[in-house]
């Protein structure tokens, strides 16, 4: 067990967050969201990892007592990937449309007029 994956997850989360906050381009912003989401994948996989254990696939001939890494977090990560792809696709579609209507994808220039 090493602390490295947890540090990596924290780093990805924070660096993504920083770039979302300072982003000047909506496509860049969406990519930064993906970076943040990657932090959750790393975290989930790190939590379920057991050093020296095998992939959680038990076929005939593999003794169960060998042990495996936690399959639950892998299932969670897969679900998470599917969910995020949907969200990102939708967001990018919205960005394309806003480019067509407003002619800009800079969040600062999309500021509400009245303020």
């Amino acid at each position: 067990m090493t602390v490295l994956p947890y540090l990596l997850a924290a780093w990805l989360f924070l660096v993504g967050l920083y770039d979302v906050v300072t982003s000047r381009h909506l496509v860049h912003l969406v990519i930064c969201l993906i970076v943040m989401q990657s932090a959750t994948y790393v975290l989930l996989l790190a939590i379920g990892y057991r050093s020296g254990k095998k992939a959680p696939i038990f076929t005939a001939g593999v003794p169960v007592k060998v042990g495996a890494v936690d399959p639950v977090v892998q299932a969670l990560t897969l679900t998470d990937v599917v969910v995020s792809v949907t969200g990102v696709a939708l967001l990018l579609a919205l960005v394309v449309e806003i480019w067509k209507r407003a002619g800009t994808v800079d969040p600062d220039r999309l500021r509400r007029k009245e303020s």
Partner: protein, 589 residues
């Protein structure tokens, strides 16, 4: 068997959505709207049946029959008690109303995929409400969010709608990542995703750093969806631009689901390990709630655009019910749940009135509609009575708490009621001046709805009357609060709940022990009167004192639609809440 109804309230809308998505193009026009209404009615009927079927004991439904073995949850479960089923019924009723309104609202321009999205939204909301497994909640949370993003940006010809949807999507996605990180940490500590089992394992340990961080992240994730300050910025942008029928569901129940989940997670998951620190948790949650209630009320009062005004009403009422849940008592939880249902119906009715205004008069701006509402008096009545309801219903739902707290919440709900009452007076009675420098004018085109249809049908306002009548009836039914407290006493008894979920040991329902005190009616009456006062002040004051105008101006400037700033607030809010929990909990000897 009563339990077979449980998965149906989620499965039926999702399957119908898939079928409509695949076959909708071949069906005659309006067919998908009919199917969607039928499904929403079915969900409502199932949920109401579940309220009665679960009245004596909570129903635990384990998918695929994977029941817990020797106290370890292997499968995924839905847990249904009358409070949860009540929320599901609210979702069904509001979905029915929204779909009925959409019939006349969209008129001839039958929208593509609209009903498919609404059904997915419906199914994922009921799934989220019933789920008692944290990861399952996360999946439904995301599913409901994605349907909601798409519905917000539904009018892709308006850049304000797109921008609202993007702000909504970005802030909520980050909230969801925080939720998922919290869930991952909890799984790492407890090896469980079932809330009851997480609670069991956590209660054997101490409230250390990991517990505090995980609790903060999960709560922030849910409160982002709920729209508590300072996570609320996306909400006013999104609700102001979503089509009015969609807002019926957004305002009526989506936000409150975040609160429902916060309460459920605390009681089932954390009330054991944080039991000794309940005072700290209470302080933070009630503080957040009161702040949200007052800020939302003040911001609602300075809006001229009705949809944006109602968005801030939603924020304010989320704060009120967050304070009630944050009291961390059975009465607080029961009151909040009954209040969420009754208030959700009233807010839904108000958005029905907005849909009617938008369709009949082509606008939803209080100032430019000055005196123009006379052709649609019924809509005016719904708006006026609903405004009084906004002021009166939340105080009735606060069943306990100190006088100062209840007083502050009365002021907040009176502000929201007063704002809507002022708008109703201006639009339908032509009261007050046509100009008001205090009010934020809606962005040009931001509230533009469909093309004006002066003779649009009765389906626009009929659901509004029904929702309003139902909401006010529920709020004033005296026995309801008593029954709710009875069930809430079971919901806050974590060890008993865990024994029941994991070992199948039933706990009998406690005896009814609570009567709503006359004080609640006094607070409600005061809120109603205060709302009328605020409305008169809004219409007839001469000038605004600088002590009010200057901070309000600052506050308005914060809500500027720049997503990076919203995310900054989310980050700062999370950090402050986390540090508060950490300091308060570490200080305890």
């Amino acid at each position: 068997m009563s339990s077979t109804l449980v998965p149906l309230v989620v499965a039926v809308p999702l399957l119908a959505a898939a079928a409509l998505g695949a076959l909708g193009n071949f069906a005659p026009s309006r067919f998908d709207n009919l199917v969607a209404i039928a499904v929403a009615v079915a969900v409502t009927v199932f949920s109401v049946l579940l309220i009665f079927r679960s009245a004596d004991q909570t129903i635990h439904y384990w998918f695929g029959g994977w029941k817990p073995r020797s106290g370890i949850a292997i499968g995924i479960s839905f847990s249904v008690d009358p409070l949860v089923a009540g929320v599901a019924a609210l979702i069904g009723v509001l979905a029915t109303a929204a779909l009925v309104v959409s019939w006349d609202y969209f008129g001839e321009q039958v929208p593509q995929h609209f009903h498919v999205l609404m059904l997915i939204f419906l199914g994922s909301m009921t799934g989220f409400a019933l789920s008692s497994d944290l990861f399952n909640m996360f999946v439904f949370f995301e599913l409901m969010s994605i349907a909601a993003f798409a519905l917000t940006g539904y009018r892709i010809e308006q850049s304000s709608a797109l921008q609202g949807a993007i702000n909504f999507a970005v802030v909520n996605s980050i909230g969801a990542f925080m939720l998922l990180t919290g869930i991952a940490l909890l799984y790492g500590r407890t090896g469980a995703l079932n809330l009851a089992q997480i609670g069991q394992v956590l209660s054997r340990g101490r409230a250390d750093g990991l517990v505090v961080v995980a609790f903060t992240l999960v709560v922030v994730g849910f409160l982002t969806k709920a729209g508590a300050v300072p996570f609320h910025f996306w909400l006013s942008d999104a609700y102001a631009v979503a089509p009015a029928p969609v807002c019926i569901l957004f305002a009526g129940v989506m936000s409150d689901l975040g609160l429902h989940a916060t309460g459920r997670t605390y009681w089932e998951g954390f009330s054991g390990v944080l039991g000794a620190d309940a005072g700290s948790v209470r302080g933070v949650l009630v503080g957040l709630g009161v702040g949200t209630a007052l800020l939302g009320g003040a911001m609602a009062f300075v809006q001229a655009g009705l949809k944006r005004m109602l968005a801030f009403v939603v924020i304010s009422h989320v704060g009120i019910f967050l304070a009630a849940i944050g009291l961390l008592t059975a009465r607080g939880l029961a009151g909040a749940t009954v209040g969420i249902v009754a208030d959700g119906l009233v807010k839904g009715a108000l958005f029905c009135a907005v849909a009617s205004l938008a369709r009949r008069l082509g606008e939803t701006d209080e100032l430019s509609l000055h005196g123009r509402g006379t052709p649609i008096p019924i809509t005016g009545a719904v708006l006026g009575v609903g405004a009084v309801g906004l002021a009166v219903v939340p105080p009735l739902a606060i069943l306990s708490g100190d006088g100062w707290l209840r007083g502050l919440l009365v002021v907040a709900s009176a502000l929201t009621g007063g704002a809507v009452l002022r708008a109703a007076g201006r639009i339908f009675l032509g009261l007050g001046p046509k100009q008001d420098e205090l009010l934020v004018e809606p962005q040009a085109g931001a509230e533009a709805e469909l093309r004006r249809a002066p003779r649009a049908g009765a389906l626009l306002w009929l659901p509004g009357i029904a929702l309003l009548a139902a909401g006010l009836t529920l709020a004033f039914t005296p026995g309801l609060a008593r029954r709710a407290v009875q069930h809430a006493e079971l919901s806050v008894d974590r060890p008993a709940l865990a024994r029941e979920t994991l070992h199948g040991v039933r706990t009998p329902l406690p005896k009814p022990s609570f009567e709503r005190s006359p004080a609640a009616y006094a607070y409600a009456g005061a809120a109603g009167l205060l709302a009328v006062g605020f409305a008169a002040l809004g219409l007839y004051r001469r000038r605004v004192p600088v002590l009010v105008a200057a901070p309000m101006h600052r506050l308005k400037l914060l809500h500027d639609g720049v997503v990076g700033e919203y995310v900054t607030w989310l980050t700062v809010g999370t950090a402050v809440i986390g540090v508060l929990f950490a300091v308060l909990i570490a200080k305890r000897p």
